[in-house]
């Protein structure tokens, strides 16, 4: 599709237009701690920090909230009455999200849509237009290039903004939804220019990230599937606490729990809550038997799900290389480091030798 130019002033204007039309705008923004940003709804463009630090949490919560009501029930004289929850959602625009975060949303469409379609997920998906912003690379823990993506990846975005000359962004319009947004606010978008600056931004960012982890993680699934009992797993997670902070901040981790909560003696709600395979109780049977009894096994599950199970089932890695898990880990578990180790081991088994 086409390319336009969007100046910072016009972007501010676009946000104002959207907000006044009642659209929720979610962007990386300041929170009380000045070192930290978070994706959150903003009340004006001033609150957004598009160039700020990487928010510790991905924006997946705007599609799969940490806790959400699935239904409400109430006891009546002649039984139970159920109240459904809405699967339609008000319009929102996610602005300035990183390409790694945005790619995750499209990856998750697969699991949310195969066979049974999760309307709660897709209700939010359909109500959302995603305007991503190419990233200059955050730090040494970034490895998006190793998972077949990149700091300027388009996947999942409706519009991709790339910093260009001065304070303008080159806007690549990628989907009909993106096109509709541009058409509805045509006066904010100008004729495309500054393609050279945008190109060099993209190249510099890609170079920066690519040097962090020069492997092809897409080629690990065979080794992973064949080496379930490998020595590597037996000592891999000694330092892991099993806290699941990695899963909480991960843009692609989507496992959940379903719980009932009474809200009085005759009524209550059923919720789904984020959950994590890193918690011991995740798989424990009612009998007390736990098929994944130790942290090493649980960590192996996390790696396998992302780099073997999901790709085999859905054709793509369940990882976008954002590096949040490594940054969030209080114990120094480091997924890029582990992938590097696996790539080295897999070297012999991977015919194309995508490992160094």
């Amino acid at each position: 599709m086409s390319t336009r130019i969007l100046t910072k002033a016009d972007l501010a204007g676009l946000v104002a237009d959207l907000l006044s039309a009642g659209t929720r705008v979610v962007a990386p923004a300041r929170v009380d701690n000045p070192q930290v940003a978070a994706y959150r709804p903003i009340a004006s463009f001033d609150e957004a920090r598009l160039d700020g630090p990487l928010p510790p949490r991905s924006p997946k919560e705007f599609f799969l909230p940490p806790t959400e009501v699935l239904l409400r029930w109430q006891k009546k004289k002649d039984g139970i009455e159920l109240q459904e929850v809405a699967t339609e959602h008000p319009k929102q625009v996610i602005l300035g999200a990183r390409p790694c975060d945005v790619a995750a949303v499209e990856i998750l469409d697969k699991v949310m849509g195969w066979d049974y379609r999760d309307e709660l997920w897709f209700g939010r998906r359909e109500a959302t237009t995603i305007v991503s912003l190419a990233c200059r690379g955050v730090d040494k823990s970034c490895f998006c290039t190793a998972v077949g993506s990149g700091p300027d990846a388009q996947k999942g975005a409706d519009i991709l903004l790339v910093p260009s000359d001065g304070d303008a962004y080159l806007a690549q319009i990628l989907t009909p939804k993106g096109q509709a947004l541009v058409e509805a606010h045509a006066q904010r978008f100008g004729e495309a220019s500054g393609a050279e600056a945008a190109k060099s931004f993209r190249e510099a960012a890609t170079r920066k990230v690519a040097s962090n982890l020069p492997i092809e993680a897409t080629k690990l699934s065979g080794w992973l599937a064949d080496n379930y009992e490998h020595e590597l797993w037996k000592r891999l997670a000694m330092r892991c606490h099993g806290c699941g902070a990695c899963a909480a901040v991960c843009p692609t981790c989507h496992c959940f729990d379903i719980v009932d909560e009474p809200e009085g003696i005759d009524r209550g709600v059923r919720r789904r809550n984020w959950d994590t395979c890193q918690a011991g109780k995740f798989t424990v049977h009612a009998s007390g038997h736990n098929p994944r009894g130790t942290q090493n096994e649980r960590f192996r599950q996390r790696v396998l799900h992302k780099f073997s199970i999901y790709p085999k089932r859905f054709g793509e890695l369940l990882c976008t290389g954002c590096g949040r898990c490594a940054r969030a880990c209080p114990a120094g578990m480091d997924l890029p480091e582990i992938l590097g180790q696996i790539a080295k081991l897999a070297g012999a088994g991977v015919p194309t030798g995508g490992t160094k």
Binding site: L120, F256, I258, D275, T283, H285, A286, R313
Partner: protein
């Protein structure tokens, strides 16, 4: 209606199978759902006790019996504890049917062996009745069922009925020490009884369900008897939440038990990581 919204069902009958195991006969409140609801032997559902949560059990009645479903469960936790407190006339929630099925159709013209331990008889019972309701379509029917003690045997009335039938060979067993004074069945563990029963294995099908250790020890016996591992089926009881292949909980190796299972052939089971 979103995916997680259950159907409401009325408890028509409640039978205590053992001191901690109960069977419900359930009828859909909405006649339209009752009309259209269909399932296959081996499928499961998510049953809810409102206020406590959902629990996963197979459908224990046969798809040949229309208009209702049955489930049997053992009190083990929060939800099963709450379900056990419910009785005739109470409302529970049901989502399903989910998962794959026993290949009942393929069994036509062949001998079938059903092997179960404890509450594991529930999913097998579904297949048993499915086959017995079309008895003429299959060859010999052998049932081997064991429990820890006489008191732990479930579906006692049906066991009596099967014992009386001339077209069913029933082997009942309890573990040593679990027998009552008037116990006429076998004493021993299920794998040993299967070996003793030694059903004809040529082209025969077997359906096995019970505690993980029982399944683990029974499969080699069947192999020894000459059963093809492609014709031996079991049903896995992983912890599940959604039943829809989303929540990730039942994932082992490359499979989502709730979608690719719960029924697996012995051959498929061998290929899975030993995370059972």
């Amino acid at each position: 209606m979103n995916l997680y919204q259950p159907y409401l069902m009325r408890i028509e009958e409640a039978v205590d199978e053992t001191p901690d195991t109960r069977t419900f006969k359930l009828v859909f409140q909405d006649p339209k759902v009752a009309e259209s609801f269909d399932f296959q032997a081996g499928q499961f559902g998510e049953y809810s006790a409102f206020g406590e949560g959902e629990s996963t059990f197979c459908i224990a009645s046969s798809p040949t019996r229309k208009g209702y479903i049955e489930c049997s469960f053992k009190e083990a936790g929060k939800v099963t504890g709450a379900l056990r407190k419910l009785g005739v006339g109470d409302t529970i929630g049901f989502r399903g049917p989910y998962g794959n099925r026993f290949p009942v159709g393929q069994m036509e013209g062949h001998d079938v062996v059903f092997i179960a331990g404890g509450i594991g008889l529930a999913p097998v019972r579904c297949a048993i009745w499915n086959v017995l309701d079309q008895r003429e379509k299959v060859g010999d029917v052998t049932i081997v069922y064991g429990a820890r003690s006489v008191g732990d045997l479930v579906y006692k009335r049906e066991l009596e009925g099967w014992a009386k039938r001339s077209d069913v060979k029933l082997w009942q067993a309890v573990e040593p020490g679990g027998e009552a004074p008037d116990w006429k069945g076998e004493i021993g563990l299920v794998p040993a009884i299967v070996e003793k029963a030694a059903p004809r294995s040529a082209d025969a099908f077997a359906v096995v369900c019970g505690p993980p250790i029982m399944i683990k020890l029974t499969l080699p016996v069947l192999e020894k008897l000459g059963f093809s591992e492609e014709r031996v089926f079991t049903t896995l009881e992983n912890r599940m939440k959604c039943g829809l292949g989303k929540c990730g909980r039942c994932n082992i190796g490359p499979v989502y038990v709730c979608k690719d299972g719960p029924v697996f052939s012995a051959k498929e089971l061998k290929a899975l990581p030993q995370e059972l």
